[in-house]
Symmetry: C3
């Protein structure tokens, strides 16, 4: 699995993507097939029959087992070849395929591509706003970006790009320079995460927020607090409140940004954004989804893909000696932490040499 | 020509594809131009003018000669540069191109890509059902498959995939397991061929055959006998007869499957299928062609291409250590025989170092 | 910049292509952004922000400066990073990008990709027919050819391909052989250019010229004189006159052919063709442009691309040992001169190791 971190959770799919119809998805350069057992729990297998390399995802579910569509070998959810129809239906241990620990929570199917014995659901960050529908209403989206996954986390961990790349987030009658000057930042590196907090005071909300909720263009406090968990999970505490308000009295717009490598130069980008205001208003759903789509799909994604194109076939921007700005503190801190973690993992014993050697 | 067997016949085209309009086709990684002389016999030249590397296939026929469309060098059917218009029409020996021995039979133009001195028409297998139109009616097809040519022969030499990949060939009220259990097999390796015979008794014909010819769903004898000739010619003796019938009293459906490498990871797949029943019925032509198209183009071809995709840029499945089943006997036997033949040919003196070094 | 000659002028764009909307164009494997200052003079910068490798061409012009569309770094026309909005708008010398000397003349924006100190406008050949609109009317075109740039100059420097590749230029009742026989040639190598002159006498004009201007099919003198300036500029003196006429009394059709490498295997091909007859006739404009488009885009371009396809990923035809004809004198002379110049330039001190090392 190359130089990806493997002993960690990655978002593999939204829960409604994994059904009784096998789903083929490449993650960390590995083709994987996802499906649901009859009891509703999800399963994930290496999407390659070891006999003739047929994609198991083109096969058929027989109960909880997946039958290869080429010669009919049958695999259970643990990847065991439980039936070879060409040998009286006997199991064929030599044809076992790898299975992957999965975990469903927050509307997401999470996968642990490394040592299954280490897979621990408690290591997953908490996204309470994705579970408590008494307070929150959630919008979701999925992009496949033709760029290395770290280019997406870099993009999120340095929001100073917003006034330049996202005109829809402009503050009324405020220049980008004034906006940047009114923002205080904090960067903390913890052993298991990086905090990149940004607090803007004394300026009005951005135009999109004003338009959506009818807020006045008055001075307010806007937080865009990123918590990055390696390798590529971001908990984004985004909110706007006016003087005297508690957080929840203002507009809270917390977001999970879940990025999963597909290959060295492509990734899956899942996002889920919750709001506390006008939660049952389909017009707001539509308008807000439009704002997110404009920013993520029509502005961030093309920029990230253009950057990747400038980097050729390598996904590591540091190999190209970028000039660093002060504002690169958060992405650089995260990239370094991840590099160290990957180096440490690579130096340790490999959990699955068979697949690693592919 | 890399690691292809060259001293052998490959199917290059159906006879009606080679006309007075030059046909460009890449075989064994070599661009080749095919055309017909005025007397109707076919010719094949390396499709690359040695002067500026223009494709000769974009040139013009002048009698039996092919004139390059860029600067007008003229080549005869033997590849001799017989006229250089920039030197008073004198021949230019240095510009000779390679020609290839061709042989027309069975409705196919066969090419011998190796040492011309060894080209021997008697080495070609016999396909009597492609010549005797008093007994047989023939349907033909041509696919370009994005997979190594051996993936196609492997597919044919192990027909146990049929009940899993080809639902149209299902036997009524018979499970795949029952179908496999009712089949006896024979595998013979001869010095020049591999026989992989399968005889199924006591079960009804497959549903497609019942539907086409109105047979009863009664026990019958079905043979699917493959004779593989290296490198990639398969004579498929396919037939169904009921108790008391001679072969020709039942449904005979013999087929030639002719596979020719285009590149390491792509191939041409020609097939010609003959039948003895309802030979002049266009409705059967159409229905039978539909059955073949469904199986070959919409089921086999996507599966083979998916397998090739899992193998990346290499065409040799053995390099990926596939798990072998008992049923892999025929394809493994054929692959090993071909590997030995190629190794032997490579170890011998090269017949055409100029082209081989390209 | 690989093995391209860099201390020389290349055509980068027609003048009307460079506007206040940044133009992205890859030349010599280098992405470059072109735009105009407020005073109308053109500017060219390396199209890659050194911070995050965003294409500057997706940014915004602020006066004469180009502001990166990702994080807002601002660059002047000399490539200096004059403002970092994340550091109180201070310049950031470490983020300077390369700028390129430009020169506008003959309706073309010329670029000097090498050592700026050596950029000398007087080194540019003269194309008087592109400037004097009292005598000349000019048609222009731009092709992007999927072939090495030298394949285009080779094509032009050996016009013996015309009777074979361009049927529209056929002479009435004259065979290609007669046409070639009636042509005398001269080849001169000067230190800074190669002359490949061709003079055809005693034969009628070509059919296209007859059709366009109503000339008689009488014997005339036709000159197709090429002057090649390294690396890839061709001044083509093309004209037809009848006995007793001075050049300008006949049909003069001088053309500039300006070829600029994009990558090793692709190029930009700009052409500008002037005429002295029926200069204000839009019907002639249209018909003549049709003749040029047929020849250059539908005949030369596909042939050059087919040749490149036969050469794979290398752009150097000599690496494939082409058979040479006598008529290859001009292209071979030019290719050798250019190879020597590139070798000499490579052996000298590099002007810009930073970019060269990319």
């Amino acid at each position: 699995m190359g130089l990806f971190l493997t002993n960690c959770w990655y978002a593999a799919a939204f829960v409604d993507e994994v059904t009784r119809a096998p789903l083929a998805r490449t993650l960390l350069d590995t083709p994987i097939v996802f499906y649901r057992r009859e009891d509703g729990t999800p399963a994930a297998l290496h999407d390659r029959c070891p006999h003739r390399f047929a994609p198991l995802s083109s096969g058929t579910l027989v109960g909880d087992d997946l039958q290869c569509g080429y010669h009919g070998l049958r695999f259970d959810c643990a990847g065991r070849c439980v039936s070879n129809p060409h040998n009286d239906g006997k199991p064929l241990r030599a044809a076992d395929v790898r299975s992957f620990p999965l975990f469903e929570r927050y509307g997401v199917v999470w996968i642990w591509p490394g040592d299954a014995a280490k897979a621990d659901p408690t290591l997953l960050p908490h996204f309470t706003y994705l579970e408590d529908d008494s307070t929150w209403s959630v919008l979701k989206g999925h992009l496949r970006v033709k760029g290395n996954y770290q280019l997406v986390t870099d993009n999120l961990l340095d929001l100073t790009h917003a006034p330049f790349l996202h005109p829809g987030f402009k503050l009324p009658n405020v220049t980008p320079e004034q906006q940047l000057a009114a923002t205080t930042t904090r960067l903390d590196r913890f052993p298991d995460r990086v905090l990149a907090y940004r607090l803007r005071t004394g300026l009005p909300p951005n135009q999109a927020t004003i338009d959506l909720f009818g807020f006045p263009a008055d001075p307010c406090e806007t937080r865009t607090h990123m918590t990055w968990y390696p390798p590529a999970i971001i908990d984004f505490d985004n909110g706007t409140k006016f003087p005297g308000q508690e957080d929840l009295e203002g507009f809270c717009f917390p977001q999970a940004h879940l990025i999963t490598p597909e290959t060295e130069t492509t990734c899956h980008y899942f996002f889920a954004a919750a709001r506390n205001l006008r939660r049952d208003d389909p017009a707001i759903d539509k308008a807000l989804m439009g704002v997110l789509d404009t920013a993520f799909r029509t502005q961030d994604e093309p920029m990230i893909e253009a950057v990747q194109a400038r980097m050729g076939q390598t996904g590591d921007i540091d190999a190209h000696n970028p000039v660093l700005l002060k504002t690169d503190g958060p992405p650089v801190t995260a990239r370094r932490m991840l590099k160290e973690m990957i180096a440490r993992e690579q130096a340790g014993p490999r959990s699955d040499p068979a697949v690693a050697a592919e």
